[in-house]
């Protein structure tokens, strides 16, 4: 089937304004008759719940953490892009649009990206009004820094904690609505099923994580703001609770999963120290503004103290390979370049899995105090984890899974192929194509939540009668029975391996065979090994305790079971896409080490339809058209 994203046509500059006018409205007195469920309270979910509540809808918001303030958007460090052009350095909405399309390696929709660039400026204003303490200069104006993949300084930031401050802004707006009674907040709840009645999304089944009860909630629309899935690699920069579960359950109820193979491996993370490790920690990309990336030229130097390696014996490989962008090359390119150096035997630190990020030149130029002011919290974090002082010796970095560009398929209104099911933020696939540029995840989450869904959900709700299905409907009962049966199964197996052991094994397979470089053979290997591991899981997993209590093993068992299914789809998507683009690098398709796209055969969104357990999913395509940005080889040289 050929999918239609229902993008508005005409001059790109007018698309969003025209579309907003064309959307139907729900009149203020009718809004309170509609119930909307928002799952997840990160930037997308928090902003959406607050904005929809303020508009007058009845909102029910859910998060698995103990408070909506803890969603993993909080961990974003570097910043948020906007086309304000405050520095007068040549930025514009058009340039942000252009950079994002190019940065995504021409695998995103033009209309969606245009809208994102257009509303980016409103986001900054909104956050300032909420009391987000963005960095300012002495005159009191907002400060900007540069970020990877752009030649202008368009990134706004709050020290190294931009995500935290933006999330707390959204959380404060949400708290105001909770107090006003327009939003009912349900924390420590995990969504375990989507309830679809006659093809329309009508609600969700959640587990109350405190007492284990399964609860049903009905609504006129469901918004999934449930983040990304890179914990499929086990070790990633995501929080421990991040999972594919909500999205996967929706997928199994009919929602198409688009471009799952587009995963972002972030170039600057603290290298793994041992097998017991539970997660990897990111060091903001902003560090590459002042840090220079290098490895020793000679293999025999790799074991030496870095400060003893002479300047001439260092290979500043990003500056060498990409002179115009240098250390600010986009993430996919910087990550692959790091892997290339390490594979060549010139990596540093344990296992040769590391490259240096060196601040010596900047400290000489600007002084240690300036560097401390810019990145102090990052240096502190680095020292806590590695016991090394980044001011005195270069930091060691290695790429780690960080972000999912792929996600549930949505049309221009952010609605999936299931009527009434909307998907926002990282959970959808829409704007980043095959690679996301730095400081654009925060932008997308807030754009979707504050400035897109409040309009587009009205266009849908205006066409449906409120309250058609209640939580006592037979489909809700069936959903609760299905989830109960699944949980009872985990608890009854009583095997020999823990959930973590399975997840670690799956993550190893994914990183090894479907990580930064993928081949036909490696992917076919995974397509054999993953089903076998899944089968073993269902025979040999051990989960203690019961379902009727707080049980973290049971929570993790469910997430792992879903990853064991989803990982296969990810590999299948990677295998079918016989090209390299952005975060998807197929070794067979390269040109002198650079990704080789195939625009003739693969210039489309690949959206997969679930066909049943152990059945091959069906691929649907949405062709991508580039009317404004010329399809070209992406070069940062």
């Amino acid at each position: 089937m050929i999918l239609d994203g229902k993008c508005p046509t005409g001059p790109i500059q007018e698309t969003w304004d025209k579309h907003r006018f064309d959307l139907k409205l729900v009149n203020p007195a009718n809004k309170r008759k509609y119930n909307v469920i928002v799952v997840g309270t990160g930037l997308a979910g928090g902003a959406a719940a607050a904005s929809l509540g303020e508009l007058g809808y009845n909102v029910q918001a859910f998060c698995y953490q103990d408070s909506p303030r803890r969603a993993h958007s909080i961990a974003a460090q570097g910043g948020i892009n906007a086309a304000k052009n405050y520095p007068n350095d040549g930025d514009s909405i058009y340039r942000l649009f252009y950079d994002t399309i190019k940065g995504g390696d021409f695998r995103a929709r033009e209309a969606d990206v245009w809208r994102l660039a257009q509303v980016s400026n409103n986001i900054i204003d909104q956050c300032v009004a909420q009391g987000v303490p963005f960095a300012r200069d002495y005159a009191g104006y907002l400060d900007n820094r540069s970020f990877g993949g752009a030649q202008v300084s368009r990134t706004f930031f709050a020290r190294g904690q931009t995500g935290q401050q933006l999330l707390l802004g959204a959380y404060s707006a949400l708290s105001r609505q909770i107090k006003a009674g327009t939003v009912k907040m349900y924390d420590r709840r995990e969504m375990l099923d989507l309830v679809v009645v006659d093809g329309v999304a009508r609600g969700i089944t959640v587990r109350n994580l405190v007492n284990g009860q399964l609860e049903s909630y009905a609504a006129d629309a469901v918004c999934l703001c449930t983040g990304g899935y890179v914990n499929v690699f086990y070790l990633s920069t995501n929080a421990m609770g991040c999972s594919v579960t909500a999205n996967w359950k929706a997928h199994k109820k009919g929602a198409y999963f688009a471009n799952p193979c587009y995963t972002q491996i972030h170039p600057t993370c603290i290298p793994q120290a041992g097998d017991y490790q539970s997660k990897l920690t990111l060091m903001s990309e902003s560090l590459r503004n002042d840090g220079r990336v290098w490895v020793p030229k000679k293999k025999e130097d790799c074991g030496k103290h870095p400060n003893e390696i002479a300047e001439d014996d260092r290979d500043y490989y990003l500056e060498r390979k990409y002179p115009s962008y240098g250390n600010l090359a986009p993430r996919d390119i910087a990550s692959r370049a790091a892997k290339e150096q390490c594979d060549d035997g010139r990596g540093v630190g344990p296992g040769g899995r590391g490259v240096y990020l060196d601040f010596a030149d900047s400290i000489k130029r600007l002084g240690e105090d300036t560097i401390r002011e810019r990145y102090g919290n990052l240096f502190e974090m680095y020292e806590k984890i590695t016991d090394e002082n980044g001011y005195k010796r270069p930091m060691r970095m290695y790429p780690a899974p960080h972000y999912a560009m792929g996600g549930l398929w949505v049309d221009y209104n952010l609605m999936s192929n299931i009527p009434g099911l909307f998907v926002l933020g990282e959970a959808n696939f829409s704007v980043h194509g095959a690679n996301r540029l730095g400081a654009s995840a925060l932008m997308q989450g807030l754009a979707d939540g504050y400035f897109v869904i409040p309009y587009t959900i009205g266009g849908y709700l205006a066409t449906v009668k409120p309250g058609q299905v209640k939580a006592d409907h037979a489909e809700f009962k069936k959903s609760v029975e299905d989830v109960t049966a699944e949980q009872n199964k985990y608890l009854s197996i009583n095997g020999k391996k823990t959930v973590f052991e399975f997840m670690r094994e799956l993550g190893g397979l994914m990183w090894e065979n479907c990580g930064m470089a993928r081949t036909k053979e490696s992917l076919e290997t995974n397509l054999k090994k993953i089903p076998a591991l899944r089968e073993e899981f269902w025979k040999n997993v051990k989960v203690t305790g019961s379902g009727a209590e707080l049980n973290q093993q049971l929570e993790n068992a469910g997430r792992t079971a879903d990853f064991l299914e989803f990982s296969e789809l990810l590999c299948r998507d990677a295998l079918h896409r016989n090209e390299s683009c952005g975060g998807h690098f197929r070794v067979e398709y390269q040109d002198a080490g650079e990704a080789q796209r195939d625009d003739v055969n693969y210039c489309y969104v690949g959206a997969w339809e679930y066909k049943g357990d152990n059945k091959e999913p069906e691929l649907h395509k949405e062709p991508l058209k580039f009317d404004n940005v010329h399809l070209a080889v992406r070069s940062y040289k």
């Binding site: 909420q130 009391g131 300012r136 009191g140 404060s172 105001r176 209590e549």
Partner: protein
């Protein structure tokens, strides 16, 4: 990294099945721990052993494991987050301990934070304080340009110092009175410093103070244990600022 020496530690951990269970300390052994393990990774190892032997693992709150989400919350050897300067439990590493050490692990203990299970407590009282006024009442859309109101760098910086709070509740756990003054003071100060928050400053400080009392938090008697426990180093000067804002509000 097998070339590292490993440690064996004795853990004395608070176990409590649910809110109604009286709870008690249990003793466990943590083996094969390296200096690079984080504290929570050390607990992961202990839990894996417990699961293998068919016992219920120790439950604890955690999520980002990089010191920013504020979810982790354990009192270690009597100190919230383990007592290392500006460090959450998840960022505490085992190189701070020695082979053979005995470590006591307890949940946050405060009247306003009922225990849910083992090391997990209910901190929704902190959300209630924010709901009482920890925001500016701006609407989505229709706000002024970000540069329309200038905020000098020192003011923005001080607001940011206050805004760094991760809402973990260590300040409450560390306070002999179980007060949430540092938590509340930080939010009141952030918004009182910024021009965007000034319009509602008086109403905000009154409402948030009342919420603190209603939620069962104690009062401040200047022990400064909160600042010592705070993983973000939030300064007690923000409590003083809240007190000033509170006084000002009486005359507003």
């Amino acid at each position: 990294m097998s070339d590292h020496k490993t440690m064996t530690l004795t853990l004395i951990v608070w176990r409590q099945k649910n809110a109604n269970d009286p709870g008690k300390f249990e003793t466990y052994t943590a083996k094969n721990i390296t200096e690079h393990h984080s504290f929570l990774e050390m607990l992961d190892c202990v839990n894996e052993d417990l699961i293998h032997s068919g016992k219920d693992p120790i439950v604890f709150d955690h999520d980002c494991r990089e010191g920013i989400c504020g979810m982790c919350s354990q009192v270690i050897n009597g100190a919230p987050h383990g007592g290392q300067d500006r460090t959450t439990v998840c960022q505490l590493h085992m190189r701070k301990f020695k082979d053979g050490d005995t470590i006591y692990i307890e949940p946050w203990r405060a009247r306003a934070f009922p225990i849910i299970r083992d090391l997990i407590v209910d901190r929704s009282a902190l959300d209630k304080i924010i709901q009482a006024g920890g925001y500016t009442s701006c609407h989505t859309g229709g706000v002024a340009d970000g540069n329309a109101i200038l905020i000098p760098k020192p003011v923005a910086d001080e607001a940011m110092d206050a805004a760094e709070c991760v809402g973990c509740g260590a300040c409450v756990a560390g306070c002999p009175n179980g007060a949430a003054m540092l938590f509340t003071g930080a939010k009141v100060s952030q918004l009182a410093l910024l021009p965007q928050g000034k319009a509602e400053a008086a109403e905000r400080v009154m409402n948030m103070s009342n919420a603190m009392t209603e939620c069962g938090f104690g009062n401040c008697t200047n022990h400064y244990e909160c600042q010592a426990a705070c993983p973000k180093g939030i300064n007690v000067k923000f409590i003083a600022r809240m007190n000033r804002e509170f006084l000002k509000a009486q005359f507003a």
